[in-house]
Symmetry: C2
Subunit: 259 residues, 2 copies
């Protein structure tokens, strides 16, 4: 099932996306109260082109890992992958939706895209064993872990570099029926292929990330886990468009603007 | 005004603390809907000893600065203070209330207290000029920026070390009528004085922190800013009690337990 958040001009809500995106016949059907438990249909039904999709979830936290693809570790100048996942948080104010502009802050000289597979947590959990990790997953979406590269280097801690408003586009929806083990992932800039990898190359795969992250802190329904970016990261300029595709989910597209 | 969150056994809510703590005559009067705008009294009125105080706010983010007292920079082995504030986030799942146990994780050998002045944001804001910083402040509370020191060193990024559940006690309440310019701040461990400083020694004072942090990201009502800890940090053991006092606010006391 594909779960999205949307507005048709009135109050935002969750909905289920049905039909073919490619054929242009997709519709969204409103659900209530939310997708983290049993839900029912509201009766609202709109053509996908007639609504605005929003970030598919409003997470209490976006918990991320750095350096989780070997080729990205190398391009960042590292020799060997870290012994354990490097954790960092992006604030909820950094979350943006599909189509929302990525706004380049005036105090950075270089802001990079980082296409990633994102895990959306479905239930409160703590100390999840690897073999039960999929039980706490609602589904998967695409993410762009936008990073002010110069601030990342200057600050040491990555919070400012990765925490600006709109630095965490998510979407276009949450795919709940998906095996994340080996999905092709691609990022394009103005249509040109810049990142191309597979989630099978994650140094820590989805179950082991969930086990590790949930051993560090309680995860809540709607929390988003970013799994790391492969090689090919690079800067964006105002006027460009960046798109992250994870096969089996869809494409998250965002324009880039100056502040 | 002192604003707390409390429960008398029924649903948690905000309240105003009135009367003398010292004389034992303090009461809490329930307010609705919340303290971030005009509120009215619910009619609930309880002796302060008859309710359980909770973390005075449930923040969407806890945004913190590191190395903001010169003597703490020195004790951590640094020569000079950082050029700009070092930012990091603690997740909302780390927030605990007065009296709640600080739970030492089994995978850390050393967990330190760090007593701090905390700022509670009163309204949505971005790019706040220094001279208008106080306009966005609801008030101030005490915080303990609990830190797994070994994990902080091992990870590089501080998220795991500072992000465990219950690693951010806040309280006992929010004092709204207070000049934060030069308040005595003290931390005791089992009654023994371990940190003693004044907020006048902050390398970046409250208005300049608000200006800097709000230039990095939007701040929301209820967001909490931790201003940094002075020298004297040290480890806690199960069975001990840690207390952070900021004069003009009160004392935040937490027992320490093993997981």
């Amino acid at each position: 099932v594909r779960i999205a958040r949307f507005t048709d001009g009135s109050e935002p809500g969750f909905g289920v996306v049905e039909g073919s995106i490619e054929a242009g016949t997709a519709v969204i059907r409103g659900i209530t109260p939310h997708p983290f438990g049993p839900f029912s249909f509201t009766g609202v039904r709109r053509g996908l082109g007639d609504v605005r999709l929003l970030a598919p979830v409003l997470p209490s936290k976006v918990l991320c890992v750095g350096k989780n693809y070997a080729d990205h570790v190398q391009e960042m100048g590292g020799d060997t992958p870290p012994q354990r996942p490097i954790l960092f948080l992006k604030p909820s104010t950094s979350v943006a939706g599909p189509g929302d502009p990525i706004i380049l802050p005036s105090d950075s000289e270089r802001v990079d895209f980082e296409g990633e597979l994102a895990i959306v947590i479905g239930r409160l959990c703590r100390d999840v064993p690897v073999e039960r990790a999929f039980e706490v997953v609602l589904g998967y979406t695409c993410a762009n872990d936008v990073t002010a590269r110069d601030q990342q280097k200057a600050d040491g801690q990555w919070t400012r570099a990765k925490g600006h408003d709109a630095f965490c586009p998510l979407g276009p929806w949450i795919e709940t029926d998906l095996d994340p083990a080996d999905l092709p992932i691609r990022t394009t800039l103005d249509g040109e292929l810049r990142q191309s990898s597979r989630t099978g190359l994650l140094l820590r795969d989805v179950p082991s990330l969930i086990a590790y992250l949930s051993s560090a802190m309680t995860l809540l329904p709607g929390d988003v886990l970013l799994t790391g970016t492969p090689a090919g990261v690079g800067p964006m300029s105002p006027g460009q468009t960046v798109a992250v595709t994870v096969e089996g989910i869809g494409t998250l597209t965002n324009p880039v603007t100056a502040r």
